[in-house]
């Protein structure tokens, strides 16, 4: 509605393959990136960085990882937190055991380790489908957290099994200030989101969606079901691993295996339900929702209802609101916020006509 579409036509298949076909969309996206990378570090304060923006970005990346597995490839999983834990501990061990190793390589190493664990727990998905697959990922969830607490080697024999972030140095630049940590997280998340988007629109993405929609038909037309499902687990766990490393290094600073427990997996599942299964944008909307709502409510209560309702009851109220919203979304728009945004865009595109 706002911007004019006519006059922009596709003259080659390569042009048709781009994310944004209209220049207005491209400019809006570049403006957003510019704002996020250049302006925000200057106008944001510590509270905004370490309490809102960094968790939002890390949870979006985690949501993105799980969305590739559940939203695109149709394999339900409740073990995302375990893969995050593997990523965090692997990255930590890589930093501590190999002196002077670059931070980003540590992240990638964390991702790869998580991918390997992801594939191992993804193997049962070849024989079992649907709910029963929950068991295999739940087994991963409990087993991984147990291993990380049980064997001291993983936390470098720290008395309490806790790992703490190494100094965030990349090519000599110190990223340990809140703004620096924000920029590091933003950079990693943007690159991985672009990487995920490319995969989803490529052949592999189509294979995932084929397996999700009807895997018997997919097998008949020649799609290698084994390779597709395992790749889904691998790439999804890779992203979750890096999200785990970011969670430990740029967000909390010190983290214990208990921090990646079942409620974290539920949280990431909620992100993709509310955000929208099978979409890249959905993860960011879902994560924003999951991070901002509690803070909004508690800020609201702190400022307005300080005297009236004690914080405890408000926490309960927040739990109830949360549960109600999830059910509301499932009823009203099962494909989540991303679908709402897409519907709005479709209708705006043909405004003022109705169809």
């Amino acid at each position: 509605m706002i911007y004019r579409e006519s006059g922009q036509f596709i003259t080659s298949y390569q042009a048709d393959h781009r994310i944004f076909k209209l220049y207005q969309q491209r400019w809006a996206f570049y403006a957003l990136l510019g704002f996020a990378f250049v302006i925000v570090p200057f106008i944001g304060n510590d509270y905004w960085f370490s309490a809102i923006l960094i968790p939002f970005l890390v949870l979006s990346l985690a949501g993105l990882g799980l969305n590739l597995l559940t939203g695109y490839a149709g394999q339900i999983s409740l073990g995302s937190a375990a893969f995050m834990a593997v990523g965090a501990f692997a990255a930590y061990n890589f930093q501590v055991r190999i002196e002077g190793s670059p931070l980003l390589v540590g992240f990638v190493f964390g991702g790869v380790a998580a991918a390997i664990v992801g594939v191992i727990f993804g193997l049962p998905s070849l024989r079992i489908k649907g709910f029963y697959l929950l068991v295999s990922t739940l087994a991963a969830q409990f087993f991984v957290t147990w291993v990380l607490t049980q064997f001291g080697w993983f936390s470098n024999y720290n008395a309490s099994g806790v790992i703490s972030a190494p100094s965030l140095l990349i090519l000599g630049h110190d990223f340990s200030s809140p703004a620096g940590r924000y920029l590091l997280t933003l950079g990693v998340v943007t690159v991985l989101a672009f990487f995920a988007r490319n995969i989803v629109r490529s052949e592999l993405g189509r294979h995932w969606m084929a397996v999700r929609d009807m895997d018997t038909a997919a097998a008949v037309i020649g799609i290698p079901i084994l390779k597709t499902k395992l790749l889904a687990f691998a790439i999804s766990s890779f992203l979750l691993g890096i999200a785990g490393a970011l969670w430990a290094f740029t967000y909390l600073g010190t983290v214990e295996p208990h921090g990646f427990d079942l409620s974290r997996s539920f949280q990431i599942l909620f992100i993709i339900i509310i955000g929208g299964m099978g979409s890249i944008l959905g993860n960011f909307l879902g994560a924003a929702f999951i991070v901002l709502l509690p803070i909004l409510l508690s800020n609201l209560s702190a400022n307005f209802l300080a005297g009236v309702v004690d914080p405890g009851q408000l926490e309960n109220l927040q739990k109830i609101i949360f549960g109600a919203l999830i059910i509301f979304f499932l009823i009203k728009e099962p494909n989540g916020l991303a679908r709402l945004w897409q519907l709005f865009r479709e209708r705006a595109r043909i405004w003022p006509l109705r169809f």
Binding site: M1, G7, I10, R354, F355
Partner: protein, 383 residues
């Protein structure tokens, strides 16, 4: 001047703006573009092909096809050799087509697809040369008479020779069957057409930056008749949509600045929009009616333009429209008014000669050249 002919103008543009896009057509999901230079070289090959088939000065190339790129190029190639292009309308009833074909007994025919090839072979002499564009279903046909357009181009080396056509010569011959089943013919000479084209270019100040889109309802004859000469004089880009079904979407994608359409084209568009506008008593409905009111104050006009008119123009692909032309019978007043509220001022094709419209729907008795009749007059009054 001697070489005031269509082929000469083609050469003119190929030399002064070789890289600009001359033709664009949507096919297989994307818009394929052809520059003036490549247009000239392809026509050069076609001239060679026709020459080898024995096509010479004064011969007639019959074109049984919907508006398509290949028909346009072959017509110019025929005229290049001093011949005449005779486009027939494939959507006429079969017996009319058969009658015309038997009457013409053509040696050279361009038939679009399998159906047109069947009609041609059924009503032509034994040694007819038929060139076809779509090879679908033709693989089993006897290969002697038939030549595939793409195949011919592939085996013919590039070539170019000076055009033989002269200004006074007939470029197009439009054959029609009248009520009493006898055939009329009507010739258009190079200079007449170009004169008419120059008139439009001057009247509407057309430049080479125009993006022209001819509505599909036109017969091939309509296209050649109305858009060929302005295209060759102004040197703008001529666009063909993918097919009938996708024309609205293609128009929106293209955003043409020049549209030539008949009364039916505009009325179809108007009914399509009216049918899809929000229900009047709904909230959005009231906003749209408020916006489309003609007599509002500055604020209403501003709001109306930005909130409704501008997006609506974009949805129907008329954001960049500058020259919406109407050819043939006039639009009823309320349709004209409807488009005027959207800021689209439809102008009828300002006629130099009083030729009647030659679209499919109005086949009238054809007068001899240069006299007028009642029906033609109301065109002048309406504009």
């Amino acid at each position: 001047m001697a070489n005031d002919t269509l082929p000469h103008w083609l050469i003119h543009h190929a030399s002064i703006q070789p890289k600009r896009v001359a033709l664009r057509h949507k096919h297989l999901g994307i818009w394929h573009e052809q520059s003036w230079k490549s247009l000239r070289s392809e026509i050069g090959q076609l001239v060679d092909i026709l020459d080898k088939l024995g096509f010479g000065r004064g011969d007639t190339l019959v074109l049984l096809t919907h508006p398509r790129r290949e028909a346009l190029l072959l017509s110019l190639a025929a005229q290049w050799l001093g011949g005449i292009a005779a486009p027939l309308d494939p959507s006429l009833e079969d017996d009319h087509v058969a009658l015309l074909l038997r009457y013409l007994n053509p040696v050279f025919v361009f038939a679009e697809g399998q159906r047109q090839v069947d009609q041609t072979l059924a009503n032509s002499r034994q040694d007819v040369n038929v060139i076809y564009a779509e090879d679908r279903g033709l693989s089993a046909y006897p290969q002697t008479a038939l030549q595939h357009y793409a195949e011919l181009l592939r085996i013919t080396p590039a070539a170019s020779r000076a055009p033989v056509a002269e200004a006074g010569q007939s470029a197009f011959a439009l054959y029609r069957v009248n009520g009493e089943r006898n055939v009329q013919v009507e010739h258009f000479h190079h200079d007449e057409l170009l004169e008419e084209g120059r008139h439009l270019v001057f009247a509407e100040r057309l430049s080479q930056h125009e993006e022209a889109l001819a509505a599909r309802v036109f017969a091939a004859s309509g296209h050649l008749r109305y858009l060929l000469s302005p295209w060759l004089t102004a040197g703008f880009t001529l666009n063909f949509p993918e097919n009938i079904a996708t024309r609205d979407a293609d128009r929106r994608e293209l955003g043409p600045t020049l549209v030539a359409g008949t009364r039916e084209t505009y009325q179809r568009l108007e009914s399509l929009v009216r049918e899809r506008l929000p229900v009047p008593n709904s909230l959005t409905g009231r906003l749209v009616t408020y916006a489309l009111r003609a007599d509002g104050d500055v604020f209403q006009r501003f709001l109306g333009y930005w909130l409704v008119k501008r997006p609506l123009r974009d949805v129907i692909g008329f954001s960049r429209i500058r020259v919406p032309l109407l050819i043939g019978p006039a639009l009823p007043v309320d349709s004209l008014q409807f488009f005027k509220t959207l800021g689209i001022h439809i102008r009828t094709w300002d006629k130099v000669a009083n030729w009647r419209t030659l679209s499919t729907t109005t086949s009238r008795q054809l007068p001899s050249v240069h006299d007028t009749d009642v029906e033609a007059d109301n065109i002048t009054k309406a504009s």
